[in-house]
């Protein structure tokens, strides 16, 4: 069974985005925990962007992608955007195979993702 920890970071000087850092594996065994925390955040989310930082995400699969797509749908409904960054090659491969990068802005580093929110 995989492990997953989420870290939520808010830039106090900037009200445009919040970063969620993923540590571990995002699959069927950890999704429940991720859903609980992220959906709770989304309930009163009033920023323009939500950035998922996958720098420390070691594995994901179709169920993990289902979760990401679900989060994106919820954000789009509120006229907000999901941005992905820091994808490891194996994670990027799974996302690319399913065509997910066609739906989101994907950046290799967190500072690139943050810069995008300023444009």
């Amino acid at each position: 069974m995989g492990l997953l920890t989420l870290k939520f970071t808010t830039d106090v000087r900037d009200n445009d985005y919040e970063v969620v850092e993923f540590y571990g594996e995002l699959d069927q065994s950890t999704i429940g925990n991720a859903e609980k925390m992220v959906f709770e955040l989304l309930e009163k989310y009033d920023r323009k962007f939500l950035i998922f930082d996958f720098t420390n995400l070691t594995f994901t699969n179709s169920e993990g992608i289902g979760f990401i797509v679900d989060v994106n749908t919820k954000l789009v409904d509120k006229k907000k955007q999901l941005i992905l960054c820091g994808l490891r090659p194996n994670v990027a491969e799974v996302l690319e195979a399913m065509g997910v990068p066609k739906l989101f802005h994907v950046f290799s580093k967190i500072n690139e993702a943050i810069s995008f929110t300023k444009q």
Binding site: Q28, S62, E63, I65, E96, M98, V100, L103
Partner: protein, 362 residues
Amino acid sequence: MDFFRRSIAKKAFITLFIGFLIFSVLKYLGRDYIDANFNGYGDFVLYFLLFVFAFAVFVFIIHLPLSKVFIQMKALLTSRPYKKIFTQRVDEVGVLAHFFNEVTKNMERLSLDMEEGRRMSKELSVGSDIQKKILPTQMPQIPGLLIHGSTRPASEVGGDSFDINDVNGNVYVYIGDVTGHGLPAGLIMVMVNTLIRTFSEVYQNGYDIIVNTNRILKQRIEPRRFMTCVLLRWNLQDQKMYYTGAGHEHIMIFHKKQGVCEVKQSGGIALGMVPDISKIIKEEQIPLESGDFVILYSDGITEAKNMQGEMFGIERLKNTISQYSNANTPEELFVNISKEFGNFVGQQIQADDITLIALKKL
């Protein structure tokens, strides 16, 4: 002392103590009357009355309340109808009665749960049968092509699917994998299977079939559910193979002449993610020569782990295909890949649905 306060012994003790006091007072006040009327048997009569009193105390305070509980316990043990025991008592009899009520309540709940479980299991079994019936059981004879495939769900109902449909001069072979597994995935799998089969009778190419399947599917499933898919089209007239990818795993092609296993991205986007995929997907040709193999698989194979937690992976699958590429038929290749896969995962429990299809150009 708290125990004594709530004990049956307290009630018996107080009753006996009062009885003994009454007996002593009676014996003291009435000694002349007793001696005069019972001819020297007065003591015997008094002790007899005392015995009767003590016996009555035992019967009414201990025996009868206990037997009320024991009758119901006996009924339960002999599988006869039993009743709830109503009591206000907090002593040992009360504890026994509450214990009995609680145990029987839990048993009844458990029995109902088991009944519900049996009913659900029966329904799942029916669902499993329905799903099995829509999966190909026999491999068709296709001019210029040999094919063998199978799927094994992780639970009664699975989210993996494949089908072979010979219609209007094309043979369509598709593999699909719905997010997750179990009943929700199984329902989507049945939906997609029907849509693909229906649209393959309407349209003449994979592109239109996939675009329209997605259009209908997207309206009917929740956002987090989707299905990855690869649709192969074997044109019977020109003997060429085409593929339309919808975010599925790689397509493996073993080129016999070069002795190389090509790992090709299926491309596109998974079905059910966005309402319109007409600008994202495309149908392309897979150039094949005689003796080449095409292998389609679901992620249940590449993500399967062995007892050490190591994944089977794409590289191992690719190497296995190359190792057994001298197989005469796709069935032979299929069996060898299955054996290697089985040896790798060992006794590990199957976590996801698995599907494997092998095709060979004659």
